[in-house]
Symmetry: C2
Subunit: 429 residues, 2 copies
């Protein structure tokens, strides 16, 4: 399971090295929101500095109540006593996977850590493809079939993980897909772990995000955090909302037992700041609003460049990812570049052009797939000032440094796709 | 494994309830340092508020370099590239246990989470008694025998965990014990995980803490953090120092892989503050100095009260724990109170007198043992002002609120030990 880390690290390191050498780079490998900390959050963190006791394993009451309010405002009535905070939603997901045990169904493609966590916990991931433009949610029909087959083969499949909105595709599964997923989960008696960390980052506020918790409230655990909507990944805070029935109460107990043995409690000052943020005061609502507009503008502009170059790409609806497919270039890539797999392609993009992206294989798809995850949020600028300008801009893609990245992207893609690549990397020295 | 949490939580909850009812309490169940945050640490945390990127899985370089310096000053030369930071030393210990795999030898008694973490990771703890006053280090001879027997029975024993200074006994194993432990570990090819989180809290600065890393540097992982020496448990930061050889490098890779899938990185602002603290500027050195004097004064005063009442107790040398034994009262406890086990005894102390302590069974000993862990650090006061006064006092045990706790303790112990207990709890209403 350390492969995914290494891939990300390798991309980051190669890009750092090229930067030092003065070579052009396109940093699109790492899924970090790439925006500054809001000053009110810095103040809230400072105020929380006196929070040096461990406090409850589940997190401070003020944080659990604020998180409950956050979910209430999204139509999910929530008991603060069934909320558990952790140092990021990642540890919460791991603890849930460990508490539930057995094998876990995940979407293909999906965020690499679901499968890795399942393996760490001693289970095996059951990879189930998604429907077109319905990223993050296993095709309900294929899920039913895959679980039945796995169970017939003696495997214990106990849960399914969904991601709405989705990483790596940037798409939002429809109400119908989510509802059918929830029905299949009920039929098969699966716990649904619904990772909704990108929920507030839909590009168009009219896009409704549906949670499996609407359709199967008795079996759905919802997780979220502040890493993406407030760009506070490095602060490490997440929350989980457990089902409000006997199953939820049992899982809550197991989750707390595991949490108490792995991390004790999330960082106190960060909990205090998070309690403030989940209360959604106007300046936080405004920041998220501006963030999602920026993410949308740049993700769409990047998608346009891929499309113009000949790649297939589903229009992203949320977050800062897209998932273009170069299947149409398969023969040309083999002939001109000796590229026959996804990792070949992304390695070539990195080595020749300094373009950092991750191949589909890192997300549970076949190594043959010529798809890649493109993260667009590190294009907002290299300095705090540039990123702040991007956030404030009416038309961020017109900013010179973002425009330059986009133009470089077109240049790279045109070169890769041309029948006689000029190896732009040589020109750049 | 959730038992230990429940025991601690139950103690805390019962004590909170009694406080609300105006009944007297003796809160000695929870191992929290119970001291205020130093203002320079609050400032350092605020300054780190802009640290919102995930940063390296191993932690920021400035933190790893500061931690390396901390160990260098204690005679352990350290490569910052073999330091890994985590959100507390507890998650680092869990990840190490998971990375090493198999069964793990731990001292009996020892901190409850070692055994629980081993079980969570799919292994079984191998409980090995300690020598008198050599808490935290399994008796080397018994360890050799236990590992040989376990291996003969087909078990994979791959590591041993040591705690110097020790929780729950507050003792510091001698150079000879630590050296012999290291030799046995080498003979048996065991990794040594040395939990040194109480290292800076020896009561007498002349007490030398020896690390297995001095004697078996090729196989010893050292962990520490700021939870105890700076009372920053709730901030959640720890560091691990891996061996500087091939074994260490391999373990380092596995540890990072696991860390990346469970917690990503420790909280950025907390890392920045920790980098400051591990640099050991004068005000931090002074705080730790005053803390250890306070811990020593109160722990010794509490030990004296237990001894005066007739319990056997080894003089504590570090931290804020002691581990008295009421074995001498076994018959009287059975006759007067119907108490025949450690949990019976601590339950009676809690229910009748509001005295919260944990029975030996929580630390891996037999339920028959009439020993208990007494944590003395929550006696420093109920308010920030009282705790600050305790830290500043030349003679903290003379402070009225600490003196009152000590007197209440004597009263309770005398009542328990008398042939006709007066049930002081009834008088308190």
């Amino acid at each position: 399971m350390p492969i995914a880390v290494s891939a990300t690290l390798a991309v980051n390191e190669a890009i750092t090295l090229r930067r030092r050498q003065g070579l052009p780079v396109l940093p699109m490998g790492f899924g970090e929101a790439g925006l500054p900390v809001h000053p009110v959050m810095r103040d809230a963190l400072s105020t929380g500095g006196d929070q040096n006791g461990y406090g409850p394993v589940a997190g401070l009451r003020e944080l659990r109540e604020a998180a409950a309010g956050y979910w209430e405002r999204r139509g999910l009535s929530t008991d603060p006593d069934l909320v558990v905070a952790g140092p990021g939603s990642k540890p919460l997901l791991y603890a849930l996977v460990l508490a539930i045990g057995g094998d876990i169904a995940v979407a293909a493609p999906s965020w690499v850590s679901y499968a890795a966590q399942t393996q760490l916990a001693g289970g095996r991931p059951l990879l189930v493809p998604t429907l077109p433009a319905q990223g993050g949610v296993p095709d309900p029909e294929l899920l039913a079939r895959a679980v039945a087959e796995a169970r017939a083969a003696g495997r214990q499949v106990r849960a399914v993980i969904t991601t709405c909105p989705d990483n790596p595709t940037g798409t939002v599964a429809s109400r119908d897909t989510v509802r059918r997923l929830a029905e299949v989960a009920r039929d098969l008696d699966l716990v649904v772990i619904s990772d909704e960390i990108y929920r507030d980052l839909v590009h168009d506020p009219a896009t409704v995000v549906h949670s499996p918790a609407e359709f199967a409230p008795e079996r759905t655990v919802v997780t979220t955090g502040l890493s993406k909507n407030l760009a506070l990944g490095g602060w490490r805070i997440g929350v989980a909302r457990l089902p409000h029935d006997e199953r939820g109460r049992l899982l809550h107990g197991d989750l707390l037992g595991i949490a108490s043995e792995i991390w004790s409690s999330p960082s106190g000052p960060v909990q205090r700041a998070a309690a403030y943020a989940f209360g959604e005061p106007p300046e936080i609502v405004d920041l998220i609003d501006r963030s999602r507009r920026l993410h949308g503008a740049v993700a769409h502009a990047v998608a346009d460049r891929f499309r113009a170059a000949g790649a297939t790409v589903v229009a992203p609806q949320a977050a800062f990812y897209l998932y273009p497919d170069f299947g149409a270039w398969r023969e040309r890539l083999a002939a001109e570049h000796g590229v026959t797999s996804g990792p070949d392609l992304t390695r070539m993009l990195l080595d020749r052009y300094g373009m950092g992206v991750l191949p589909a294989v890192e997300f549970g798809e076949s190594a043959d797939a010529l798809r890649m995850r493109v993260a667009t949020s590190l294009l907002y600028g290299e300095t705090e000032a540039q990123r702040a300008s991007a956030l404030a801009a009416e038309d961020p893609v017109a900013l010179p440094w973002i425009r330059a990245h986009l133009d470089r992207l077109s240049e790279v893609l045109d070169d890769v796709g041309s029948e006689q690549p000029t190896a732009l990397h040589a020109m750049a020295g």
